[in-house]
Every structure is written in C-alpha cells, then in structure tokens.
Symmetry: C2
Subunit: 213 residues, 2 copies
C-alpha cells in the first residue's frame, strides 16, 4: 500500500475535475486513476476494473446519481476504495447520510490544497478525515444530544413544508390525517425552536436538515 496512491475523481463540473487533477498530479506519490462526471459513471469505471485507492467525490451532482447513493454502492463493492466526499457547503443535509453510507472523510471545496493532499494520504491509509468545519458541525449535532435530530417522519414532513404544501396536502400526500401532520409539525417546531411553518423551513434549510434544490 506504500506505492502510488490511485485516485478516481468524480465531479460533474469539468473545471473542478481539472483542478483536482492538477492538484493530484502535483503530488509525487499520487496519480489520477480516472475521471467521472457522476456517480453512475464512477460505478461503471469501478466495475470495469478501474481500481483506485481513493475516490474523491462531489456530493452535489446535477443530473446524475447523487453522491450519497453512489457512496453507498461503492462501499458495497468487494474490496471497496476509500470514499472522500468533497463538497461545497459544510451545512449540507447529507453529511450524516454520507458518513452512514460509508464515506471515509469529508472535505470542503474551499479547503487549501495541502489539506486536500493530507486527506488523500490519510484516506489511503484507511483513516477517517473530516474538515474542521464539518467535524465541528457533526460534533455539535452529537453534543447537543442530537437535539435538532428530527425523526425520519418529521424530516419528511419538513421537506414537504419546504415545497410549500398546506397541511391538508401533506396529509393526502402521506396518507395520514391532518391532525397527525399538525402533531408532527408541533414536534418539528419544538425541536427547531420556531413557531411557524415558514420559520421551520428557514431553520431546516439553515441547519442543513433539508436541501434547497
């Protein structure tokens, strides 16, 4: 494992792929094993015999498969590579999801190149690396007793809130009664410390519990 570290770059932006490749090629003991524009293409490459040590992957990818799903499938492969998530926002709703999906680490795109290099090396050694802002966020969530941790159902309803649906519409969408929707909402308001649906959407967005898109 002490030879060249082979890295597969996955990002839907050609510009970012080029930047990553430039940075990676600059490191003496690292080489790019390939590039993919989305999760599906990355999986195809892996199944076609490309064997990187580390996958550097963006979470937000416009059209193609989402990064979390791709991570899940990659780590489900036999002898999977380490998956390093590279994302734009530390407030992303999917940090936790990505970690649970088996991601080895989490980096921010505005990280300095040295940090990226260190992370790639660490990931190749099987270590977990979290960018400081990300780590702080995760810790904050754990330390606070997982307080802002909405239940799955509550998160689902918050998502529908963010689409602008009224209680009745939500109830029909989920095949539950309006009363139940209201109960969930009361819980959501309590956990988020707000007192209106619109404020809940704002807080949920800010806390990264739901994603804009």
């Amino acid at each position: 494992m002490s030879g060249l570290i082979r890295v597969l770059l996955v990002d839907d932006h050609p510009v970012v792929r080029r930047g990553l490749r430039a940075l990676v090629d600059e490191l003496p003991d690292v080489e790019a094993a390939g590039e993919a524009a989305d999760g599906a293409e990355a999986l195809r490459l892996l199944e076609d015999g490309v064997r990187p040590d580390v996958v550097l992957m963006d979470l937000q990818m416009g059209d193609g498969m989402h990064g979390v799903e791709a991570t899940r499938r990659i780590t489900a492969l036999p002898r999977p590579p380490a998956v390093l998530i590279l994302t734009t926002y530390s407030t992303d709703a999917d940090i936790l999801a990505a970690v649970e999906a088996g991601a080895t680490g989490y980096l921010l795109k505005d990280a300095p190149p040295e940090e990226l290099a260190a992370a790639v090396h660490a990931a190749a050694r099987g270590e977990t690396v979290l960018a400081p802002p990300v780590a702080a966020r995760l810790l904050g969530r754990v330390r606070s007793g997982g307080r802002p941790a909405l239940s799955p159902r509550e998160t689902e309803i918050l998502g529908l809130l963010a689409e602008g649906l009224a209680n009745r519409q939500i109830s029909r969408r989920l095949f539950i009664s309006e009363a139940t929707v209201k109960t969930h909402l009361v819980h959501v308001y309590g956990k988020l410390g707000v007192d209106s649906r619109t404020a809940a959407v704002a807080a949920g967005l800010a806390a990264g519990l739901i994603r804009p898109v």
Copy 2:
C-alpha cells in the same frame, strides 16, 4: 488586442482556481494574469496595476465580497476588463443583477472546457456570451412580460418571508404597517401563482428570486 489574452481568475475555491488555471494555460493565446479568492482581493489586484483583458469570476463567494458587487465595482474602473461570470446554478437569483452590474457574459461551471475557451475569446473581443441555459432563462423572463419580476419591495419582503418572519415582524423590520405587508404579499402570491407564504418561499427559491444562503 490580438496578442495574449490576460485572464484574472476569481473564485473562493482553490480547487476551482486550479482547474481554471489549468484550462486557461492550455489555450495558446490565453494566459492567467493572476488569481483572487474573492471580490475584494480582485479589486486590490486591479488597483495595484494588474491589467487583465477578462475577469473570470464566481458569483457565490462564501465570506468575501459578493460577485455582483465586485462586478459593479470592476466595471466602474477606468478602462475596465470584461467580466465573465462563472456560476454553479442557472437558477441563480443574481443573473439579472450581474448583467445589470455590467457583466459581459454568464457561464455555468458544468460547461465543457471548449465552451469556456470560446467564451473567454468572445469576451476579450467585447462580445456578450451567455450559456444557453442562462440565455434561455433570461429570454423566458423577458418573453413572459417579466411576469415573475417582483418589484424591489416585493422581493425584499419575500426574502424576509424566507427567513421565517411573520407579517408583524416584517412590518416592524421595514417600518411599515402590517396591512402593507399583506398587500405586498397578495401581489407576490399573484405573480408567483401561489396562495401561501410557504409556497411563495418555495417558488421564489425555485425561480431564483431569492437565494438560500
């Protein structure tokens, strides 16, 4: 003007800057004139005598000066360079604002490298270049009679809505009566084709009239 095209790269992500530099350096008649991590740094460079023909600038820049403001100030300089906006989303709330601020063109980060190269050349010749999705969006907005074009006040109120404020809070924030807030909201709902505040936030977000932050 037929010599080397000098390009100043402005983006808060080191990875993106590297990607842009790699792409730019690959073009025979283009060279990078410098890099900046935000609008303020770009302005400093320009005032310190860096004289690029084209400024390639991201709109979303975390901490520093926002791209629109930077564009405004750059185009206000004597003999200003062309400003090419490079952004992630075609749904950005600031497309129009950037154009009005004097941007020469608008590119998406997921554009293929050739498109970027063509845009830089066009910008250096003083031509306006809009990425097809961006152009379509602008046209759509103009063609539809500027329908979703909220008035400044309405946009402001929509922004406060998205922060989760109640009508009374908005009225106090803006030093107007609650009745006025409601009147504005009715207009907003009409223009967006919705019938609730939460739906208005969702629609405003989707239409890029307000930004998530």
